[in-house]
Amino acid sequence: MKLYGKYIEILFKSQMQYRTSFWLLAFGQFLIPFSVFAGLYFMFERFGQIKGWEFSEVALCFSIIHMSYALSECFARGFDSFSALVGNGDFDRFLVRPRSTVLQVLGSKFEFSRVGKLVQSIIVLGWAVSQQLADWTMLKGLVLLFMIVSGVFIFTGIFILAATMCFWTVQGLEIANIFTDGGREMAQYPLNIYQKWVTRFFTFIIPFGCVNYLPLLYLLDKTTGNPLPYMLAPIAGILFIVPCLLVWHVGVRHYRSTGS
């Protein structure tokens, strides 16, 4: 953990060497979800609601998933851009150091300009919360935090899976976008607006529904019966990373036997 902090420190120092470029990039990063949010706004302006959900409710959903995404893009960037690390042979160096490969890859890159994305979603979150959609309690605040953290775990898990693919091929990585970009895009709306098969896939295989939709029902007092399962659903997101790490280790073993 101390080492992880050290990695953050050194990379922060590095990126601050290029301040102008950093701010420009951060602003660009701010604009990306902003344009999506603007699109969302225009759609609601025209249609008023989506399957019974209000704009402010969807905005809450939107801000939570985008926040998770921004955080994972910042802190798990090493996995996200892993193909470069394998391509230039720097991964070999990680193997001659007495630390876990996961930690070293995580520490290899942070993308602080994602703060732009984060700020955008914080603003949206602040606005959505201020709309008094429900009675806010301490407990709801905690669940909200839990949702964000567990979203980070899911995205990181997918980044790890995509990175693992690099051990076999650097082609076809685009497929991972289905689950990262696609997952984010999809989870910015409440999951029940989609067809059944989509809902099922993103609840039971990649549990976006568990970190976003189900606890959202609790936040907005839309649950029937015992709210506890809804509150605890984000655990699934954290557990998601376990099989991803296992696959990663299989990948590392493959890399060491082929050296591809």
Binding site: Q49, I50, Q171, I193
Partner: protein, 267 residues
Amino acid sequence: MKAYISVFKLRLTYGLQYRTAALAGVATQFFWGFIIIMVFEAFYSGTVTDPPITLKQLITYVWLQQAFLAFIMLWFRDNELFQLITSGNIAYELCRPSGLYGLWYAKLLAQRLSSALLRSLPILAVALLLPEPYRLPLPADPAAFIMFVLALLLGLFLIVSLSMLMYISVFVTLSPAGSLLMFGVIGEFLAGMVIPVPLMPDWLQSIVYVLPFRWTADFPFRVYSGHIGTGEALIGIAIQIVWLALLITIGKLAMARVLRNVVVNGG
């Protein structure tokens, strides 16, 4: 001309090597298309007033967008060109006898074509066979189809002219990522990539109509679905040609100017 063709060929071969990448791209775009269509479907299911574009036309719009993504994405990064400019290795390119603008234009064009070649046909083929309501309908009529092909190709030339301007701007800024990202995000929004132009509020539509971006994507797709009639399409194609001439002229002038500076500064 021969030089342009070989640059073009080289790029094409290079792009074709990545079959798995192409397959992954197709899958990704299909998934993406479904998500977008389902969201629109959900919006449309609860509406009481008639939206300015039918769901069927919208579905056409989305599938064409997915199939021709390589033709309409504003920001299609070519790292080679990028490094060439920022590292100062541009000197090599200046030694070549052909015009730099034309060469790069051919390169960027080929890159988009090779990427689209592998992706659009499978996507179109499958989308045409999907079960209703997701199926991509055939063009409104043969005239609309011919217009569409013409408009799409002109749109492709337009987008390459636009991205040429972006590359030229890298000469000036040298640290490209941030400013180009902004340009790309805004340009794509104005081209109707985030939400289709007809669904935008009226004030925004009036801005979109005076800018070049929508002519690359929004226009050809609506010609296909018949949302824009044949007569209007003809006028549109004329406007596309005017834009194209204008953007290429600006690009060539800007290129000549920045290259002069490069020579003066010794790279």
